[in-house]
Symmetry: C2
Subunit: 254 residues, 2 copies
DNA sequence: CAGTGGTCTAGACCACCAC
DNA sequence: TGGTGGTCTAGACCACTGC
């Protein structure tokens, strides 16, 4: 026999609203009734409705703005292919933008990107992975990637200066094949990739940049690229709203 | 200049308690002061403390039980290696328990496992991935995996009956090399793996089985194994508390 | 029975937006 | 200015634990 687990009211209300969204009773992009209306509709206090909305907002289904109301998230889930990004697609376009654009096109979205390049002292995780001192200057290439104009991924790539300095890697356009092709030209062809992924709440800065709620979660994917000598020559950390992405890895056995 | 973003009180209190936990002011396994004490300590209402605790409970840092109090999560983060599970380690022990035990041993934990085997109508996702009708009977092998006795992973593996029926795959012990070795013996050597991962709240059942809070998140990893003919011969879905695990993939470029 | 955390209400104040 | 969502309080009731 299944144990009786009566849900608290706010979770029951959350379930009803969640179902209504999946039913398309409230279709993507549409506006939800106000909290006062929902309170009357479900015969509870506004505080209870507010708490219910907090739950499904944390799941990424809705988005609330003070003064403006609550709307249903218009974006579908996107699949990111972890392996293969650095092969086919990339060769045809700059950076990993080829792969990213393909991933978005697969669900009918248009990709955008805005890069920033500079020198910075290596953050702790970068220093550790690159095997250098913590405040050594390194090249940093940052991008905000968008789908239909909405920020959807933050990425920061770090490369040691002794490799990057004075090369096309410090330019806005890294040329045909992107950064990995330039690294290969410089004698650092990548032979191994590693990705480590955790889930956590967004930082304040990330929440702002990605338009996220503090109760939502992000994937933090940290990719390390190594050359034939085993040296880590690039560390790329990506931050993605967890409700928006599915991570895919496909590989041959053995 | 950084924009002023004054946090609401409950997030400030959450930040203080979070810091105290990371400081080891409240070490792993220890008991937090009661909500009333914390309320007095930080000069807010108990409702505000309760909300603050809800935040960090959602992050997996603490665990609350009615009547008993709130304790700091005693388990460290564990790294799961997505690729390589089906090779070295597995050969030395049954199922994927070899890999799982190694992952836990790496952070000083002891692995446990309790399998259940049966026939069930294929769930929708299994039917789709195996390319069969939705209610076809399939073999289901379920496991609850534990670390130091605490449930830490749920896994359900589904295999078509036309392959599994009457073989060692329906036995508790699948023999040396585990299920993939038996599939190879039967002419279905696996040549390709795919893993698709999303993050979501736990179902009620999962929350109960894993001792999780509804505000926490799980990784849902769905792995499909294909033989040389391209046929999907196994679908394995794993559910892991997201705050407890780091997912790792390492592969050779090209 | 006292103490714990979980929930809900009623009411209030605020920041923000659109009109 | 009125309506929106975000937060906080004071108080209450409850389920549960451990003595």
């Amino acid at each position: 026999m299944p144990i009786e687990t009566p849900q608290p009211e706010f979770r029951q209300v959350a379930a009803l609203i969640r179902t209504a969204i999946q039913d398309q009773t409230y279709p993507p992009g549409s506006q939800l009734p106000s909290e006062n209306e929902l309170a009357e509709l479900h015969d509870v206090t506004r505080a209870t409705v507010n708490r219910a909305l907090t739950v499904i907002r944390g799941e990424g289904l809705i988005r609330s703005e003070r003064g403006r109301g609550t709307t249903v998230n218009p974006l579908p889930m996107i699949r990111r292919r972890g392996i293969d990004r650095q092969t086919r697609e990339q060769r045809e376009s700059g950076e990993a933008r080829g792969a990213f654009a393909a991933e978005l096109a697969a669900v009918g979205l248009t990709a955008g990107s805005s890069p920033t390049i500079g020198q910075v002292p290596a953050p702790d995780y970068v220093a550790e992975l690159l095997g250098i001192e913590e405040d050594t200057q390194v090249l940093a290439r940052s991008r905000v990637m968008t789908g239909n104009g909405i920020p959807i991924t933050l990425a920061v790539s770090h490369i040691p200066l002794d490799i990057a300095e004075g090369t096309q890697l410090v330019e806005k356009d890294t040329g045909p094949g992107g950064a990995y092709s330039r690294l290969a030209d410089l004698g650092h062809e990548i032979v191994e990739f590693t990705e480590n992924t955790i889930v956590r709440p967004p930082s304040d800065e990330e929440a702002r940049a990605l338009g996220m709620d503090p109760d939502q979660r992000v994937f933090q994917v940290t990719r390390t690229a190594r050359d034939a000598s085993g040296r880590a020559v690039e560390v790329n950390r990506m931050v993605l709203p967890a409700h928006q992405w599915e991570l895919n890895y496909t590989w041959a056995a053995e």
